[in-house]
Symmetry: C2
Subunit: 397 residues, 2 copies
């Protein structure tokens, strides 16, 4: 699966380089277990120790220059036509490998706006400049941010299959949570149950375990990326989970909502039900704008306006983000035109993008109301990969 | 434990800043789940999403500027006197926070020689320059590499305790492996056994699972960071494991050697025994030079010379590296003065450093002979944290 994935993505990369009229794309890394370039998993899927260069070319003939220790693992990928190993230092081998392509442009991994395209550290950038000094290539460096955004954003068939799998697993976990929880349990207990199941299933986390899942019980618990604490689930309050697993290196990211029925209740009070309807409606409003070519901020705006028009304060984050190898999977972002999202909300939605759609409102004295769905952008619109939550779920004491 | 650790390391950092006459040290990160600065675990131990600044001061009063979502987790550390949260963009808050210190030097995380001190990406560096434009601080940026090397290298009491714990666990796993293995098993089967035990114990890996443990069975298996394959363990061959676990965020990294007795044998053939003795002797030779103040390359040289003087080819890697939160835990390296190790082998050994000591030779037709010990540098010399392997261990069919 891993080998097929790398070959699929490198074939895509070749096309994307051509599309952006870029001759050669260099990913330059070292000690990737300690400081990985987020791109590495897409184009090599191996860890390397010494200075290593992955040269992806619009010709379709790619070259890797790695320490001799790491060469066998790269060779096994059957993805790089040449795997050059070195013993004492990468300098000569790197310069020769680049010169063989004589690229007019050499794209490297830095970006102010897209963290997933910003894998080159500043120290490695200085090393690269030093290594290329005196060659024509030092003057031909450009940012690979558009290449990486396209490569990461346009999911291949295998990638969609893997995200689907992670989503199915997550939905099963939500069903198990629903059976497990009872009023009186703390956030911590509910999170511990999920952690136990994730360990039993041998899964990884889409974001750090400390706040995955986020568990919000009633009005006391903090909103946001808070570590689950000692707030107790009570009747008449909402229960909210934000959970993402990583399975075979691909992630899910889903939020689900329950209401804990109070004594004598058979359904949620109007104020809770209305909050659900507005959050659900806002997701549908955003979804209706989620078509290829639309800039991210317009999708966000549709959802944001819906919330505000219905009398709730706007949410202080983006409506959606890409999902894939990581939970926040780089540009494009479906977010407002704030400084914090500079550049990445102008980018257009593309076919093959997998987005989360998420937002929340607060229900006074009851808790948070927050949903998150995972969807695939197709030629004609949107395909839900998660089974969307269309109704409030209930915990019956 | 985590909270105590952060407070211990920040107290150390305050002293180190003073030692290096540096006013303020900035760690500038975003989306740390996707692209973490290796320093973050030492000074904050939380993940952050938006642009975030951790300002550590020689005054001992530290400031964090983070997105509003992440503020509660940083506040809980009780380590930053001020936690400033922001909503739309970090710019103003960051500039104000720095200006309050009016630092004459502002250290940032980049380094050509030390990957663990090179957590600032090039895109984030450009963002920082842009944010500081027009302030005096743009001209006062210096590399934090010496600060980070000292902070990471000088293990605190809690850190030593945690590494000891990971080592004990690893040694128990080696004992279990010895009971489990039989001639006829493949590298893959042996690795799978270890993976199963690591999952049962809820441990993490000190380096990626794909080649952890490295399992070398006889002469066929590749040397180095190779993924365990289908080579079969046979009588008359050596068995070698290189295993590192991560337990409570701290790592072990140990290599152990077995010989599989052939029919009628009661001990290893002379050629195998001699290889063990030379590898063991080289580790002792290096150890004898491992004292505070000695540059790393001199320690390597002692071991390297011992190997060569005994008629074996030199090993094509460093003799030792720091061990801690990661298996390759930054500068100093006990390695030769090759281009690839530029700068980091000149650094002196310090009290509180935890090093691995490792090297191998090849025994023709028998397999690899490779040992690795984990040791703590003290005022007076070396304390072994692993129970050193002083004799070849045997697999009896």
């Amino acid at each position: 699966m891993q080998k097929q994935l790398i070959q699929e993505k490198l074939a895509q990369a070749t096309q994307i380089l051509d599309e952006f009229d870029t001759d050669l794309w260099l990913t330059f890394v070292r000690e990737s277990a300690l400081q990985a370039d987020p791109v590495l998993g897409l184009i090599a899927g191996v860890d390397v120790t010494w200075h290593s260069a992955f040269l992806v070319s619009r010709s379709g003939q790619h070259t890797a220059v790695v320490g001799h220790f790491d060469a066998p693992n790269v060779q096994e990928l059957d993805a790089y036509s040449r795997v050059i190993d070195y013993h004492e230092g990468i300098g000569d081998a790197l310069r020769q490998a680049i010169a063989q392509y004589n690229p007019q442009t050499l794209a490297i991994n830095y970006s102010e706006s897209d963290v997933a395209a910003d894998g080159l550290t500043h120290g490695m950038y200085l090393t690269l400049l030093r290594q290329l000094q005196g060659t024509p290539y030092a003057e031909r460096l450009v940012s690979a941010e558009h290449i990486i955004a396209a490569l990461r954003g346009r999911k291949s068939e295998t990638e969609v299959t893997l995200v689907r799998q992670a989503i199915r697993t997550t939905e099963q976990l939500f069903d198990e949570v629903e059976q497990f929880v009872k009023p009186g349990m703390t956030q911590r207990q509910i999170a511990a149950f999920v952690h136990g199941r994730i360990a039993e299933l041998g899964l990884d986390y889409a974001w750090p375990k400390a706040f995955n899942p986020i568990v919000t019980c009633g009005p006391e618990s903090a909103v946001g990326h808070a570590v689950p604490g000692d707030a107790v689930l009570q009747k008449g309050h909402t229960l909210h989970l934000d959970l993402g697993v990583k399975q075979d290196e691909y992630c899910s990211d889903i939020q689900r909502m329950w209401y804990v029925l109070d004594d004598g209740e058979t359904e949620a009070p109007l104020v809770v039900q209305r909050a659900f309807d507005v959050v659900y409606g806002a997701i549908k409003a955003g979804e209706s704008l989620l078509t290829p070519g639309t800039p991210g901020w317009q999708v966000d705006e549709a959802a944001r306006d819906f919330i505000v028009d219905n009398g709730y304060p706007e949410y202080m984050h983006a409506f959606g983000h890409l999902l894939g190898r990581s939970a926040h999977d780089g540009a494009t972002v479906l977010g407002p035109q704030w400084e914090r999202y500079a550049g990445i909300c102008e980018l257009p939605v593309e076919v093959g993008n997998i987005f989360t759609l998420e937002l929340h409102v607060i229900v006074p004295e009851r808790g948070i109301m927050s949903l998150e769905e995972d969807v695939l952008v197709t030629e004609t619109g949107v395909e839900y990969l998660s089974v969307p939550q269309t109704k409030l779920r209930y915990i019956r004491p």
